[in-house]
C-alpha cells in the first residue's frame, strides 16, 4: 500500500505544469486529481458545467463562513461579567497592557494576542479580573471577546476546506461544517476570552495548510507549494506559541512529512540532489521558520513585560535583574558575604523560592512544636536572615569590630531577622517527606543550642574561599546530623499557608533542591558593586522561562477532593462545565458539547474502525473490487485516517499525563473528529448506496442520508442552543424548565 500522501505523483509528472498560482490554482488542481482518482461517481459532470460547479462551491463556502460567524457573534456581549477562565486570561491580557511581568504555564502568544486585541479596542488594562462573576461595567471587553470569536469562527471554513480537499466531496465538507457549526461546546469556547479558540484556530490552520500542500505535491517547488508549506510552519509556531498542546499537531505534521519524504525517497527518478532540496525545504519551513517565529514571540514577550510584577519570584536572581521596579534592577550590593550581613537565600531549583520563616509554629503532632521554616516564592520581610558566627552572639555590625568575611567551610548560624530565631534542625521527621529531618526556627533572641550550627560550603570550590553574592552556589550542612538543607518542593497544607516544605535531607545527592544562592545582601560596612554584569542573555532567559513553565506544568496536581475530569469523560460528553451562574435566577452558560454531535462522533469512530479494517483486510487479501469502491476506500483510509490520526494524537497523550485536567479541557479534539466524521458518513453512505441498489436509487439514499444528518444536527442545535447562549429560569432538574427533557445524563448540571 503506498503511503498516505502524495498519491498520484508519478502519473502527474506527465502532465504539463500549470502556470497559475495561488488559491485558485491549488483548488483547480485538487479537482483534477479528484477526477483522475476515480473517486467520483461514474457520471462526471460535463466540462460545460464546471464553471457552475466552481461558482456553487464558492457560494457554499461563503454560506458556511457566514453561518459560522453569525453563530459565534450572536449575543457575544452576554453575560457582561467574567466567565470561568476569563479571569485568568483577561488578567494576563491586562498585564501585557500594563507591561508588568507575570508567570504562566503556557507560552505567551495567545495571551499577547488577547492583550493586543484589548489594547486596539480601547481597553486600558485597569479592570482587575478578580473572580468569575464580576461585572465588567464600563470596561471595554468586547474587543477581546470579539477577537476570540473571530478566530473561533474560522474553524468552520477551515474544516470545510480541509475535508473538501481530502474527500473531494461537497456533501462531506458540508456535513463537516454543519457538525462543527452546530456543536454547542465549540461555540461556547469561541465566545469568551480564552486560549482555546486561538489554539484551535492555529491547529486547524496547520491541518488545512498541510492538506493543501499535500495536494500540491505533484508540483514541488511551485509557488502554491511554497505558500502552503510555509503557512503550515507559521501555524505550527502559532499553535505551539499558545499552548504546549500544540506539540501534538507538530507531531502530526512531522509524521506526515516523514511519510512524504519516505515516499519521495523511494522514487528512483528523483536524484539525491532533488531529494536534498526536498529535505532542506521542509527543514526550513517546518523547523527553522516555526522555531524562529516561536522565539520571536518570546522576544516580544520579554520586551513588552519590562516591569516587575507578580511573576518575579519564580525566576532566578539574574533574571529579575532585568525587570524595572525589582530591587535587583540596577542595584548595587556588597560582593562578598560577611558576618552580620542581612541576606535572602534563594533555592536554585526552579520556583522553590526564598528560605522563609514566620511566627507560626508547626502544629501539634508534626515534629517538634517550633517555628515553621518554609520556602516562599514572593518577596517578603520574613525572607531576611542574618548571618552570624556560631559561637558568639555579639553584634558583628558594631563598628568597633573589623569586617570578617564568611569563608567556604565556616560554621555559621542563620538568625531570622524578624523573629530572632535560629535556623535549626533535629532528628524529628519532616512534615511531608518522612525520611528527611524537620527544619525549624529555634531559640530566643539568637540563643539556641548546637543544633543551630550549619557548615556553609560552596559547590566545587576549595576551602577558605570567600562567598560571592548571587554567583556562589552554596550548600548548608547541618553540623550535628550531617544532613543538607533543602526544599522538597512539596506544598504544605493550610497550617503552613501553602508554602513549600523545607527539610534537612540525609541523602547527600546532588540535586538543585539542596543548593542555594544569596540574593539580597545588606551590609553597611562593605562597599557596593553594581549588578549589571549579571544581565542574562536572551538564550538564557528563553531557556530559563521554559524550565519554569515545564516545572509549572508538572506541578499542576489536583488539590484534596477537587472534582476533576478524566480523559475518558471527554468523548462521551460525561460532564460539562459551568461557565457562569449557578442558581435559577442567574444567567447561566454551560459548556457542554452538543450530545447528538458528540455521540454521533463516537459511533462513527467505531464504524470507521470496522469499515477501515474490513477494507484493509480485503486489500491485503487481494480482493478485486470495482474502481469506484476502490476510490472510495482510498478516501476513507487516507483522508479519514489522517484526520483520525490527528484526533488520536490530540487525545490519547492525555491518558499518560497523570495530572488533573480541569473539566472541559481537551475540547479541541472535537473539531478534528468532526472532520473525520464528515468524510466517514459521506463515504459510508456512498458505499452503502453502491452496494444496496441500482444507480438512481443509490443517489437517492445518499442524498436522503446526508440531508437527514444535516437536519438532525441543526435540530439538536436548536434544542441545545440555550446552553451556549445562556439561559435564565428554573434549573433543568425542575420539570417546568424548558431544558427539563434534555438532561439525558445525570452528570449534566444545567
Amino acid at each position: 500500500m503506498p503511503p498516505a500522501t502524495g498519491g498520484g505523483l508519478a502519473e502527474s509528472e506527465l502532465r504539463p505544469r500549470r502556470g497559475r498560482c495561488g488559491h485558485q490554482a491549488a483548488r483547480a488542481a485538487g479537482w483534477d486529481v479528484a477526477a483522475t482518482a476515480a473517486a467520483r461517481n461514474p457520471k462526471r459532470p460535463a466540462r460545460g458545467s464546471r464553471r457552475f460547479e466552481t461558482a456553487s462551491r464558492w457560494a457554499l463556502l461563503a454560506l458556511v463562513t457566514l453561518l459560522s460567524f453569525a453563530t459565534r457573534f450572536h449575543r457575544l456581549d452576554e453575560p457582561p461579567h467574567i466567565c470561568w477562565d476569563e479571569t485568568h486570561f483577561g488578567k494576563m491580557g491586562s498585564y501585557y497592557i500594563n507591561r508588568t511581568f507575570f508567570f504562566d504555564v503556557h507560552p505567551p502568544l495567545g495571551k499577547m494576542l488577547i492583550g493586543l486585541a484589548g489594547y486596539l479596542s480601547g481597553y486600558d488594562g485597569t479592570f482587575l479580573f478578580q473572580k468569575p462573576g464580576d461585572k465588567y461595567e464600563h470596561h471595554s471587553y468586547m474587543g477581546m471577546r470579539g477577537f476570540c470569536a473571530f478566530l473561533g469562527s474560522w474553524l468552520v471554513p477551515f474544516a470545510y476546506l480541509t475535508v473538501l480537499d481530502l474527500s473531494k466531496s461537497l456533501s462531506a465538507a458540508l456535513l463537516t461544517a454543519a457538525l462543527l457549526t452546530f456543536d454547542t461546546g465549540c461555540l461556547t469556547l469561541s465566545q469568551y476570552i480564552l486560549l482555546d479558540p486561538i489554539l484551535m484556530f492555529f491547529i486547524m490552520a496547520a491541518m488545512l495548510s498541510m492538506v493543501k500542500y499535500n495536494s500540491c505535491a505533484d508540483r514541488p517547488f511551485s509557488a502554491p507549494w511554497w505558500f502552503w508549506l510555509s503557512l503550515t510552519g507559521v501555524s505550527l509556531a502559532g499553535a505551539l506559541g499558545v499552548k504546549f498542546v500544540g506539540l501534538f499537531i507538530i507531531l502530526q505534521v512531522g509524521l506526515n512529512t516523514i511519510a512524504d519524504l519516505w515516499y519521495l525517497f523511494g522514487d528512483l527518478s528523483l536524484s539525491l540532489v532533488t531529494m536534498g532540496k526536498h529535505v532542506t525545504a521542509r527543514v526550513l519551513c517546518l523547523i527553522v521558520l516555526p522555531l524562529a517565529l516561536y522565539t520571536a514571540t518570546f522576544a516580544v514577550h520579554f520586551m513588552v513585560l519590562s516591569k516587575s510584577g507578580p511573576g518575579d519570584g519564580f525566576f532566578s536572581s539574574a533574571f529579575q535583574a532585568r525587570l524595572s521596579g525589582n530591587n535587583l534592577h540596577n542595584a548595587s550590593i556588597p560582593e562578598h558575604l560577611a558576618y552580620g550581613s542581612v541576606i535572602t537565600v534563594k533555592n536554585l531549583q526552579m520556583a522553590i523560592g526564598y528560605l522563609h520563616s514566620h511566627r507560626h509554629l508547626y502544629p501539634e503532632g508534626i515534629g517538634a512544636r517550633q517555628q515553621q521554616v518554609t520556602t516562599y516564592l514572593h518577596k517578603d520581610y520574613n525572607n531576611l536572615w542574618i548571618i552570624k558566627k556560631h559561637n558568639t552572639n555579639s553584634d558583628p555590625l558594631d563598628p568597633s569590630f573589623p569586617v570578617e568575611f564568611v569563608r567556604h567551610g565556616d560554621i555559621i548560624r542563620l538568625e531570622h531577622k524578624e523573629t530572632s530565631r535560629n535556623l535549626h534542625s533535629h532528628y524529628h521527621e519532616a512534615p511531608l517527606t518522612r525520611k528527611h529531618y524537620q527544619v525549624t526556627g529555634y531559640g530566643i533572641n539568637g540563643t539556641g543550642d548546637s543544633n543551630d550550627f550549619w557548615r556553609i560550603e560552596v559547590v566545587n570550590r576549595k576551602f577558605g574561599n570567600q562567598i560571592k553574592v548571587l554567583r556562589s552556589r552554596i550548600r548548608l550542612i547541618h553540623l550535628v546530623t550531617g544532613c543538607v538543607l533543602g526544599s522538597s518542593g512539596k506544598v504544605l497544607p493550610k497550617w503552613g499557608w501553602e508554602q513549600l516544605e523545607v527539610t534537612c535531607t540525609p541523602y547527600l545527592k546532588e540535586t538543585l533542591n539542596s543548593i542555594w544562592n544569596v540574593e539580597d545582601h545588606i551590609n553597611p560596612k562593605l562597599p557596593n558593586i553594581s549588578l549589571n554584569v549579571l544581565q542574562p542573555s536572551f538564550p538564557e532567559i528563553l531557556l530559563e522561562s521554559h524550565m519554569v513553565m515545564i516545572w509549572g506544568n508538572n506541578g499542576l496536581k489536583p488539590k484534596d477532593n477537587e472534582f476533576t475530569s478524566k480523559p475518558w469523560h471527554w468523548p462521551i460528553n460525561y460532564q460539562g462545565l459551568r461557565f457562569s451562574g449557578v442558581n435559577d435566577t442567574d444567567f447561566r452558560v454551560y459548556l457542554l458539547g452538543n450530545p447528538v454531535v458528540w455521540w454521533l462522533n463516537l459511533l462513527s469512530i467505531a464504524l470507521y474502525l470496522l469499515s477501515g479494517s474490513i477494507i484493509a483486510i480485503a486489500m491485503q487479501r487481494g480482493t478485486r473490487v470495482p474502481a469506484e469502491v476502490a476510490g472510495l476506500s482510498q478516501v476513507l483510509l487516507r483522508g479519514g485516517g489522517q484526520v483520525l490520526l490527528g484526533w488520536m494524537l490530540h487525545y490519547f497523550p492525555f491518558f499518560l499525563m497523570g495530572r488533573c485536567h480541569p473539566p472541559g479541557l481537551g475540547r479541541q479534539q472535537v473539531s478534528l473528529l468532526s472532520s473525520a466524521l464528515g468524510i466517514l458518513w459521506d463515504t459510508l453512505l456512498r458505499l452503502c448506496a453502491w452496494g444496496l441498489a441500482s444507480w438512481p436509487l443509490a443517489r437517492g439514499i445518499h442524498v436522503v442520508g446526508i440531508l437527514s444528518l444535516l437536519l438532525g444536527t441543526a435540530y439538536s442545535f436548536y434544542l441545545f442552543h440555550p446552553l451556549a447562549y445562556g439561559m435564565v429560569g428554573p434549573l433543568a432538574q425542575d420539570p417546568q424548565s424548558p431544558m427539563a427533557g434534555l438532561r439525558w445524563l445525570d452528570s449534566w448540571e444545567f
Binding site: W262, F265, G266, L268, T433, R434, K435, H436, Y507, D560, N561, F563, Q575, I617, Q620, R621, G622, L656, G658, S747, E749
Partner: protein, 725 residues
C-alpha cells in the same frame, strides 16, 4: 500397532553437549553456596513477609505485582517445609533454623541458571551461528548483576526467565510455521508462548511490555499471513483463530487462575483487611466475617446499622456521633450551629451505631414482618446512643466552608428547624426498586431539603472534634465521588423499645449465623482494582536511581554487609558488558537505518534472507530492550537499578548478533575477519576479568581490605561500603 515386534525399538538421543555444558555452568554459578549469607538480604525482607503470609494462609495486598511471582517464591518455602514463623523486619537479620533458605532461594536461582542455555537457543533460533549463540550464553553467564539477582529471593530472575521463554517459544513456533503448521510442536510452542507471556505478567506488571512486544510481532506476522494469497480463506481464518486463542485467551485465563489460586490459598483475614470492602472482608475467615456472619441481609425500617465509608481515605472509618457539640465560634471566627458533632471514626465504637427510621412512624424497632428499605425511600438516621437524628443545613462545615455542616439535631428552640430527611440512593442497584442490603449495597444519602450528599471530606477536625474525620453535606451537583458512598457493615434488627434497653442492646455483640459469599469475579476485580490504585508513599530511597543512570551503570545497590567483616553483596553489573551492550544497540540502530534507506533506493547490501534475520533479531532484541526500558521514563514511582535487568538481557542477546553481522558482512577479507575475531576474544576475556574482579561483591564470600574495596570503586558514584576502624 505391533510394529515393535517386527522392528527393534531404537532410541536415538541427540544431545547437544554445548547446551548441557552451558546449563551446568549456569547451575554452578547460580547455585554455588546458595545459603550464604544466611541472613536477610535487601528486598528479601519485603518478599519474605509475603512468603510468610502464604505459609500462614493470611490474606495480604501488595501493589508491586500480581500474585504469581509471590506464589513462586512461596512454593519454594512450601517445598522446604517453611512454617512462616520468621520476623521479616530488617535487612541483615540472621535466619533462624526453621527458615529453609536453600529451597527458598532455589527457584529464582534455577530460573537464573536456565536463562543461560535459553540465551543460546534464542540466538540459534534467530538463525545466527552456533558461535554467536554460545557467545550470548557466556555473556549471560558472567554478568554479575544477573548472578546477584538470581541468587536471592527476588523476582527479577523469574521475570527474565519467562521473558526469554516467551521469546524462545515464539521463535520456535515461527520456525515451525514454515515447515509444518498445525503440527504438534507448532501447537506446543504457540501455547507455550502464551503461557510464558502470562507468567511474565503474573510475576511483575513489567512483563506486560514483553507481552505487548510479542503481540505486535505476532500481529505483523499474521498480517503477512493474510497477504499470502496461496492460502485459502478458511486456512487463514484458522491461523488467526489459533493465534488469538493462544496469545489472548490463554494468557487471560491463566492470569485469572493466578488470582483464583491466590484467593483460595489465602483465606484467613490479616493486616490488610481494612483496605478492602466490607463484602470482601466478610469472605475471609476470621476478622469481619466473625462479626457479620448471620446478620440479616435486608436492611429494614428499625434496623441498627454501622455505616462504613466506601472510599476509606485517608483511613477507613465509620459514621460516628457523640455527645459533644460543635464549638459556637471556630478559631477563625466563623460561627457554627452548635449542634451535636457528626464525624467519621476509624475505630469500632458503640457510637457508630445508627438506627434506620421511617419518617412516618415513631417506632425504632423492626416491625414483623420487617419492611425492607428500598432505593429512593425516605429515611431518618437516628444515632443509637443519643437518639438524635442526622441533620444537615445551610451552615458552613467546620473545615470545608464551601460544604454544609452535618450534625445531629438538637432543638434549641431557635428558628432553625430540623432537616433530617434523607433519600436513600443505592449506587450499585440493578433495578429501581432494589432493597438495601447489608455489606453488598453501596448507598448515598441525599438530603431532601437541600439535595446535599453525605460525604467524607477527608479533613481532620481539630482538638474539639478529637481529631476525627470531618463529615459534610456536599451539593449533589458536583458529580459522583466515592467519598459520598457508604455501606452497611454491621447490622441487626432492633427490638428494644426503650432508650435504656437499646443502649444495652447496642453494647452487646451481634449474633452469629450463616455466611455470605462473594463470587470469584467480584473478589478478583476488587482485589485487582485495589492493587492498581493503591499508592504507597513515594518514598525516597538511598539507592534509588533514575533510568538515565542505568545505561552507563552509574549507580549500584548495596544489598548486604556482613555484620563483622567487610564482606558485602552489591548489585553491580559487569561494566564491560553494559557498555558494549549499549554500543551494540547504537551500532544496530545506525546500520539498520543505513540499510533501510539504501534499500529504499534499491541498493540491496544484504541478501534477502540475511536482511529478514537482521530485522527479526532487531525487532526482538532491540525492541525488547526498548519496551523494557523506555517506559520507566514515564513512571513516577521509585526506581532501582534492578528494574533495568530485563532490558539488559535483551541487550546481551543483541551483542553477539551485531558482532556476527559485522564479521559476516562488514569484514571484507579473511584477514579482517581473523583480526576481528581476535578482538572479540580479547574483549570477551576482559569481560571475564572484570567479572572475576567483581566476584567478591557478587557472592559476598570474601572479605576485602579497605584498600581493595577502594580499588574496586571505579566510578565515584558507586557506593561501596568501607568500614571505619
Amino acid at each position: 500397532m505391533w510394529g515393535f515386534l517386527k522392528r527393534p525399538l531404537v532410541v536415538t538421543a541427540d544431545i547437544n553437549l554445548h547446551l548441557v555444558a552451558l546449563t551446568g555452568m549456569g547451575l554452578l554459578s547460580r547455585l554455588w553456596q546458595l545459603t550464604y549469607p544466611r541472613a536477610v538480604v535487601f528486598d528479601e525482607v519485603y518478599y519474605g513477609q509475603y512468603i510468610s503470609f502464604y505459609m500462614k494462609r493470611i490474606f495480604f495486598l501488595d501493589d508491586s505485582g500480581p500474585p504469581f511471582g509471590h506464589m513462586v517464591l512461596a512454593l519454594g518455602g512450601y517445598l522446604g517445609g517453611f512454617d512462616g514463623n520468621f520476623l521479616w523486619n530488617r535487612i541483615g537479620a540472621e535466619y533462624t533454623s526453621n527458615v529453609p533458605v536453600w529451597s527458598l532461594r532455589l527457584l529464582p536461582a534455577l530460573a537464573g541458571a536456565l536463562s543461560v542455555p535459553m540465551a543460546y537457543q534464542i540466538v540459534l533460533e534467530l538463525r545466527f551461528s552456533h558461535c554467536a549463540a554460545v557467545g550470548a550464553a557466556l555473556l549471560m553467564l558472567i554478568e554479575n548483576a544477573l548472578i546477584t539477582q538470581s541468587r536471592l529471593m527476588l523476582l527479577e530472575s523469574v521475570l527474565i526467565f519467562f521473558n526469554l521463554l516467551a521469546v524462545l517459544s515464539y521463535l520456535k513456533f515461527f520456525n515451525c510455521q514454515k515447515l509444518s503448521p498445525f503440527s504438534l510442536s507448532w501447537w506446543f510452542w504457540l501455547t507455550l508462548t502464551g503461557v510464558a507471556c502470562s507468567c511474565a505478567v503474573g510475576v511483575k506488571y513489567m512483563g506486560v511490555f514483553t507481552y505487548l512486544l510479542m503481540l505486535v510481532v505476532a500481529a505483523v506476522h499474521a498480517w503477512h499471513l493474510i497477504g499470502d494469497q496461496t492460502l485459502s480463506n478458511v486456512r487463514v481464518f484458522c491461523h488467526l483463530l489459533a493465534r488469538a486463542v493462544a496469545l489472548l485467551v490463554i494468557p487471560a485465563v491463566l492470569y485469572l487462575l493466578f488470582f483464583y489460586i491466590h484467593l483460595i490459598v489465602l483465606f484467613r483475614s490479616g493486616p490488610h483487611d481494612q483496605i478492602m470492602s466490607s463484602a470482601f472482608q466478610a469472605s475471609l475467615e476470621g476478622g469481619l466475617a466473625r462479626i457479620t456472619q448471620g446478620q440479616p441481609l435486608e436492611v429494614a425500617f428499625g434496623s441498627q446499622v454501622t455505616l462504613r465509608s466506601v472510599f476509606g481515605k485517608p483511613v477507613p472509618c465509620w459514621l460516628h456521633s457523640h455527645q459533644n457539640t460543635y464549638p459556637m465560634i471556630y478559631e477563625n471566627g466563623r460561627g457554627s450551629s452548635h449542634q451535636q458533632q457528626v464525624t467519621c471514626y476509624p475505630f469500632k465504637d458503640v457510637n457508630n451505631w445508627w438506627i434506620v427510621k421511617d419518617p412516618r412512624r415513631h417506632q425504632l424497632v423492626v416491625s414483623s414482618p420487617p419492611r425492607p428499605v428500598r432505593h429512593g425511600d425516605m429515611v431518618q438516621l437516628v444515632h443509637g446512643m443519643t437518639a438524635r437524628s442526622l441533620n444537615t443545613h445551610d451552615v458552613a462545615a467546620p473545615m470545608s466552608p464551601h460544604s454544609q455542616e452535618v450534625s445531629c439535631y438538637i432543638d434549641y428552640n431557635i428558628s432553625m428547624p430540623a432537616q433530617n430527611l434523607w433519600r436513600l440512593e443505592i449506587v450499585n442497584r440493578r433495578s429501581d426498586t432494589e432493597v438495601w442490603k447489608t455489606i453488598l449495597s453501596e448507598v448515598r444519602f441525599v438530603h431532601v431539603n437541600t439535595s446535599a450528599v453525605l460525604k467524607l471530606s477527608g479533613a481532620h477536625l481539630p482538638d474539639w472534634g478529637f481529631r476525627q474525620l470531618e463529615i459534610v453535606g456536599e451539593k449533589l451537583s458536583r458529580g459522583y465521588h466515592e467519598s459520598t458512598v457508604w455501606n452497611v457493615e454491621e447490622h441487626r434488627y432492633g427490638t428494644s423499645q426503650e432508650q435504656k434497653e437499646r443502649e444495652w442492646e447496642l453494647n452487646s455483640p451481634v449474633q452469629v449465623d450463616a455466611s455470605r459469599n462473594l463470587s470469584f469475579m467480584a473478589r478478583f476485580s476488587e482485589l485487582q482494582w485495589r492493587m492498581l490504585v493503591l499508592r504507597s508513599d513515594d518514598s525516597e530511597h538511598k539507592y534509588s536511581s533514575s533510568p538515565l543512570e542505568w545505561v552507563t551503570l552509574d549507580t549500584n545497590i548495596a544489598y548486604w554487609l556482613h555484620p563483622r567483616t567487610s564482606a558485602q553483596i552489591h548489585l553491580l553489573g559487569n561494566i564491560v558488558i553494559w557498555v558494549s551492550g549499549s554500543l551494540a544497540l547504537a551500532v544496530y540502530t545506525l546500520l539498520f537505518l543505513w540499510y533501510l534507506l539504501r534499500r529504499r533506493r534499491n541498493v540491496h547490501d544484504l541478501p534477502q534472507d540475511a536482511w529478514l534475520r537482521w530485522v527479526l533479531a532487531g525487532a526482538l532484541c532491540a525492541g525488547g530492550w526498548a519496551v523494557n526500558y523506555l517506559p520507566f521514563f514515564l513512571m513516577e514511582k521509585t526506581l532501582f537499578l534492578y528494574h533495568y535487568l530485563p532490558a539488559l538481557t535483551f541487550q546481551i542477546l543483541l551483542l553477539p548478533v551485531v558482532l556476527q553481522h559485522i564479521s559476516d558482512h562488514l569484514c571484507r577479507s579473511q584477514l579482517q575477519r581473523s583480526v576481528f575475531g581476535a578482538l572479540v576474544v580479547a574483549w570477551y576475556s576482559s569481560a571475564c576479568h572484570v567479572s572475576n574482579t567483581l566476584r567478591p561483591l557478587t557472592y559476598g564470600d570474601k572479605s576485602l581490605s579497605p584498600e581493595e574495596l577502594k580499588a574496586l570503586r571505579w566510578k565515584d558514584s558507586w557506593d561501596i561500603l568501607i568500614r571505619k576502624h
